[in-house]
Symmetry: C4
Subunit: 262 residues, 4 copies
């Protein structure tokens, strides 16, 4: 086994012991790095804490950079990896640091936000995603239709409430776009209370919007439940067929044994 294959067994394969250690190390580093990022935003942290956080950040970035380079090196098609979803995430996780070091200006603050992309790196290492992938595939069409219908519904709600409330509360329901904030906060049932109808017409309109809207909001739960039931069934059937084909192989082997014996 060559050096490249050895590396691959550590970085890509998380069934081997070394692969597992590598995976957990990277996961702990991502978690550490994200925590450091969050602590950095706390007001009134001391200079000592700042420099500790900077060192943690630097160490994490170095390891992530090494990981990125290794992943390019071991990839069968390096270019394909670079433009893949995880390749871009891996790059975006380290890029802000190098840009910040090179252009140590006010732009640093803006690029800091890209560090949150590291959070996405956590998902790669989870193998339980498969069923959700199947579910996502099963409900893709319905989900798109749901988003279109929801979009239309939010527009209708915004335009409607604008006509009812604009005269009474011009500073809150200034335009259809401003009313859109009310629509999303109401239809998701968050209801902060910063904006709500006060006219009788607006309240009656909200009544009907909520009666339909709450029904619409429950559709994704139904979609997921139905698709998960289907996914479970498909997995079971695949398992059953697996067992059957194994039995068939055993039977045919026995038969051939018998015929050989005969």
């Amino acid at each position: 086994m060559g050096f490249k294959a050895k590396l691959r067994s550590i970085v890509d394969d998380n069934t081997t012991k070394k692969g597992k250690i590598f995976d957990y190390t990277i996961q702990i580093l991502i978690f550490t790095s994200l925590t450091a990022y969050a602590i950095e935003t706390l007001p009134g942290i001391s200079d000592l804490t700042k420099s500790i956080l900077f060192w943690i950040e630097t160490v994490c970035i170095i390891i992530f950079t090494v990981e990125y380079v290794v992943r390019i090196f071991i990839a069968k098609n390096p270019f394909k990896y670079i433009i893949s979803f995880y390749g871009i995430i891996d790059l975006l996780a380290i890029l802000p640091f190098f840009l910040a070091v090179r252009y140590d200006t006010i732009a640093l603050r803006a690029f800091r936000i890209f560090r949150i992309f590291r959070a996405f790196k956590l998902i790669r290492y989870n193998k339980a995603l498969n069923r959700f992938h199947l579910v996502a595939k099963l409900i893709r069409e319905e989900l798109i239709l749901f988003l279109i219908v929801t979009g239309i519904f939010i527009f209708l709600a915004s335009a409607g409430i604008y006509h009812f409330e604009n005269a009474a509360q011009p500073e809150l329901f200034t335009s259809i776009f401003h009313s859109g904030w009310w629509a999303i906060v109401t239809l998701t049932t968050v209801g902060y209370g910063d904006v709500y109808p006060i006219t009788v017409g607006g309240k009656i309109f909200t009544f009907f919007i909520l009666m339909v809207g709450v029904g619409i909001v429950t559709i994704p739960a139904g979609l997921v439940a139905s698709a998960l039931t289907k996914a479970r069934q498909m997995e079971e059937e695949a398992l059953l067929e697996d067992i059957k084909s194994k039995e068939l192989i055993q039977e045919s082997q026995k038969e051939s044994d018998n015929s050989n014996n005969n």
Copy 2:
């Protein structure tokens, strides 16, 4: 193929290339028209923007009018199309403009709202609605029952809280109708915070109303989930039967071939 049939293949049929182009054009126009409508409501827009928006509106309306006339022309039964759901939507989408042009008065503002009906035109072009249609048919009875029970429950909640809170907050719980606003905002769990019980009795009453009400609110999700599972199953069975009948045809063909050969 006559001119009428040709037109029909473009306007009604979205499987042909020309039909697809027509569909996407109309969809983009609806989207543009709705965006223009929303921008118009923004305060402090310049006269230039206003005139651009007016031209966009006019162009959209002309195309929608042509579309409406063509649809009447190609329909096998023009009257049936005019009084159909989509026929009415198509008319309501253009009517306000012509009314506004003819009676350029204050009534214009009131008719503007009908422009939002254009949003409904977006739904026609989506073919993924079929399963939802099946689901809607499966749960129709339960949904009606659910709406009746919800209606009764909202009335009970309104009447109950009115008796508990009317004395303490007469300006918020003025009558059962006013209390209805509290009931709908609470039972949908929006909870703006503009109106809530302050008496001990009202709070305990809200406790029980919420315990039952939250359970009621979850029923539509259950209905949709169960009906989607059923719809999937029905589709599969239809598919299986399709396959079986094809196999039967093939078998009978083989048999007849065999008997012919014999």
Copy 3:
């Protein structure tokens, strides 16, 4: 057919034409009576309106009383009807009026609330309740367990937040009972905003309570969805068996016909 049987076919049976007319009449009267009850609570209604509402009320009550007496008269076991769920509802719907007429005092106000029981009368006439009855039976045990767990959870949340927030907000989190109001408003995700944690400990506690609590709140939706799927399946199996048994009967008839012919 005697007079009693004739009456029974109108009052109890809603498949006959007269039965349907009777049913719809009663339903419209209940609706009218409830609307009148709600209008009565509006402040500043004129004396004329008041007297009209009183006459509507009186007519409704007379008809409901006649209905109650007729139902006792036609019942095979009058006593059983009187102590049945609907019997009690029917009585509670008319009782407050007679009590108010006899004791025209301040107690009238308190008894008024019982008039909302008329709303329950609306449910009797709906035949789509059967599936929900089956669902209710299927999930009864789980629902009871859910209510127990929810009860314990609300207690834990109330006791926990009391210890975190009592010192900081003694007027809102005065005792575990007062904190219970916060618990129910938060766990049902209503979130009025009249009471919320302000200490860091209370906020972190709320975080964990919500993570678990929102999961708990979704269980009823799951229960209903799963039970509805089961109920549909049971109905279908019952239908299939019905068809099969009919076929068996037909086959056995044919066989007996054949044997007779032979």
Copy 4:
């Protein structure tokens, strides 16, 4: 039957009459003890009430202590019971009292909170938990993945809103941790209204966060619904196999009877 076995039939077995009485007694005591605990927190209770509550508390504790000792005594492996989930709960339910009696200081207040663990004792006596156990086992993996994804999503939402709102509302969105409070209150759709975005950027960000977030929040309902459907199916299959195996046993018995007769 020895004394130990007799005790075991009362304490451990709730199918016997004595066992049921014991169970209900303990459950009523837990309920009484929890109610007393809640009443104790009410401000302005009289000295008489306080001493009554103290006596209730003492009696409950004595019985719980006896129960704990008896459970150790009758356990086949006393040490295993002590370190089991219910063993620890049973100890935590009585420990605070004895610590408070011995060290009657300010620490008493802090230990009081452990009394709420008594609530967990209520769950033991419920036998309907089995299906939920099965459901929990079926969805364990998906639930863990859900918690990871939710965790990442809350972090992303917190970091994002921090960058949008920190400049406009530094006292509310002070750091990513402070923004986390907004994230959890918004994503669970509680929406107290104590903290919400006011910038246009923050509002648009909230729009997208809610569109995805509300979808994520509905996943547990789908998981539970799907797993409950599966659990029902498994129970039925187990029942069917049970019936089949019984039939097989009966058949084989008949056969052996026949062969014996022959």
